[in-house]
Symmetry: D2
Subunit: 288 residues, 4 copies
């Protein structure tokens, strides 16, 4: 990794139909603005004829301003039919953590953020239960409980969305939040809401995956972090990991051991997202 | 592992309802025959109230004979309602490898057997194609091709079963054999026929699992070795393993990389089976 | 794992020269006291002719008392020249965590203890610095700082040992404690003090192992938890784990990523120790 | 991976002091020749201020010839003080495998080459023993035995070098070749001779690493593939991997299990080398 301080960097993510000259055009453009490329990674999906690229750049010697840079990129993008987004290292994304009663993922996210591993702010914890209020308080993070029943669900979610808007939340992390969010919510936070599912998807979709895994007698269990979409457990997968289990492990053992997996996988996915490493392509991801 | 030569050892596998005094009764019995316990492993499934044990023993100072030993075990077994089986290290199981056109699992099994890693004989290779005849010949192993169509399937399988009987085959290994075997076959080789499925079951059951995995965009793929039962890909799992993949991997890459997994997982399962480490309980396994 | 509540269980660890009849003698003894065996694991080191066993037992139907049980074990132990120890699940070990300035292992241990993953009390945090006092306070755990210089080292360590005695500490965990402890300390807490070293021992003994690893260009780095002995980084290894790194990882990346390894490996080792799974044999461990 | 047939591709590896405009210059150059970039990977070592890049390109629409391309690259290289090498996918490297008595790595390399996983020819097996002649014969590969004693070492090695020259060998793979090669040999095949060492270097340098590992009581063992240099086991590491072991594993178990590691790690390193993924920088490697 480069030793350039993050606030002097920017990252661009690009996807477009593959074509000769793409790499040269972008590299030339950046060079023309006095920008040094710190990291570049690209991928060509030849089956889909698509090109993907991530470039992290050093802006310290840029001899134009951000507006000129963005205008220049927009021009090249139009020429090559590119989707692109540019994120400046000087802007910390604002992240809201959604929880129910389990706290292991929450602790992990907050402790990593405080250790400098996750470049974001965490101004807000949302829950459908009151249990974790003391944990939030211990960390000095605002905690909002929205108890949800079938009858109140729509109204409560509307209030949650209002709150997220008011708090200018960029990223929603469902850290073992035991509620299905609505299609409208999914759309509003499309490619910006990350869920952790406690199985190796697509195995054991839905409820009680550790019970399902125990019943089937698998020798390995997993966890999956994915973008939330309106189809339950079907969103683009960002990260997965697994661990060995054996006949000695009861369902309770799986649940206990699985906590380590869940928090690790979720934190990695959040980190990839925050570092602008993830591009969604169809229902899949490119993770640079 | 003990340094006692395999031919002086025996292994007993036991399962029964859990009860006090079980361990003492068996240990006492073996001691009474002058047998030293080399390894012992046990497992209690408290939910099912079942007890499982594997004992590997040194017979060199046994001061009775095999018949007395077996009679004594049968008596204890009757008292505790035990299922048990006893295997002598001096008997090498006879293994038939079933293949179609892929040879990677076959090479792996044969090379390991020759390197002394798999205590068995491999007198026979069965296939529904002729392609791998030269490989069999290279190793000096008899090769029998049974081309199978919908019309000939029943008749050909009957011939295969006859051949297995004639060759006194103890274990059947489906090493990427691209044919579903009949319920009758499954029954005849119940808990003695091992299949390798090229996915992390229960994800991607059925055909073309690497294509399915690629389409879903998973970040990890796997392989599963299981006992063959009449329900496709649903038998008791013996061993699984996984490896990381990324957006860079095409279906062809998954197929290529998956070969390493398949052969490793299959060989491990065969080894566990040959070393009498596997007990089937319901649709699950205890692997000591 | 058994569903018997921990407070009704006990665990015995045994090591002695290997001999026929050992297993039967112990099993018979327990049976005679009305004790059911929940788990048993044994190991024979045939090169050293040594036998090791761990038995976890259910005391609920024991029809004698602890004193009779222990006396009976002592008799068998004398007969077979056994070293043994017996731990009752009803007694929670008291653990002191030693830290300097890094808090990741501390958080991990305390959070796991509170989540019920580590059956112990943590009444005490000891440090040679004041930095982590607020963390201790946040958890409501007593914090004692003993600043150490070459001149004060002996005196300060004497005070620490006094404190540990006063607090009846059973286990000392050096959770990135950046001080070498004295031979006297090692002896007092022999096989009861656990250190985490941030490399894959025996590679990169001593200071700045991540710098050493980076310089050598290794593709994998590790962490090692071991019992503390008077020879630096040479004590019996309890647990190790590793992770992949690449040319992209700077020393700072290794330090950051390594934190995950260190805390995981240390917590696992502490857990093994607390569950009475570890037997020291020479400079090695048997971990059941 | 791209679906362009290998014979229409070329790969360039570049290293030079880091400077703005590098990426643009190379991309522009290739674009100017009608070359499409299939994959590009780059790395900046900011501590050393060095830039590294690998570009795999599609030559099918190149509208100049190879000579013009290479001349153009040489010019850019001179301007930026680049070390570079260009390899055409149409040229298969010629690989010689050196063995002693162990055959597991040899089988693995040859079977992978035949399965299309290693894009090379293997015309030659060299040994200091005659044992593996039948294996070579089975594969139809020329086998040359050069028995070596202290007295004959220099003369025999000279003959080996002659043979390699005559056979136009590009890559030498020491596949458990139990002989130290001379400094002269190392120089002649600098960055083109790959050795497998059966430990996780730098732990357990030198002879009998599994014995050393067993003695130290490690919980994980490893294998390391590295370029051969005149300092034993000190060359730039290309690939490493590890596996868990326990107190149950005797030295013989480590040796047996280690074979899987050795062959896997060696084959991966050879593959990386053949695919022109490895750049040596000082005593370390960049593996793209």
């Amino acid at each position: 990794m480069s030793s350039v301080a993050a606030e002097h960097t920017a990252t661009i993510l690009v996807s477009c139909p593959d074509r000769r000259g793409l790499v040269a055009a972008l590299a030339q453009l950046l060079y023309g603005h006095g920008i040094n490329i710190l990291d570049a990674d690209q991928h060509t999906d030849s089956a889909a004829n698509m090109f993907f690229q991530r470039i992290r750049m050093d802006l310290r010697e840029m001899h134009t301003d951000r507006m000129s840079l963005e205008r220049a990129i927009a021009e090249v993008a139009a020429r090559f039919d590119m989707r692109w987004r540019l994120a400046y290292g000087s802007h910390h994304k604002r992240l809201a953590v959604f929880v129910s009663k389990y706290d292991h993922c929450l602790h992990d996210l907050v402790l990593r953020q405080r250790a400098g591993e996750l470049a974001c702010d965490i101004p807000l914890i949302v829950s459908n239960h009151a249990e974790l209020a003391p944990v939030a308080q211990g960390y000095g993070i605002a905690f909002h409980a929205f108890p949800i029943s079938a009858a109140t669900k729509a109204a409560q979610e509307a209030k949650i969305l209002e709150l997220l808007e008011r708090e200018r939340i960029d990223v929603v992390v469902l850290a073992r939040y035991m509620q299905v969010v609505s299609a409208q919510f999914c759309e509003r936070y499309a490619e910006r809401a990350i869920n952790i599912h406690h199985s190796f998807l697509p195995a054991f979709v839905g409820g009680k995956p550790y019970h399902q895994a125990h019943l089937r007698g698998v020798k390995i269990v997993g966890a999956t972090a994915h973008y939330v979409t309106s189809e339950l457990d079907e969103g683009p997968i960002i990260e997965q990991d697994v661990m060995r289990v054996s006949h000695r492990d009861s369902v309770d053992d799986l649940i206990r051991k699985g906590r380590d997996l869940e928090r690790t996988v979720l934190s990695r996915a959040v980190r990839h997202h925050l570092e602008e490493r993830v591009l969604v392509a169809g229902n899949k991801t490119v993770v640079f």
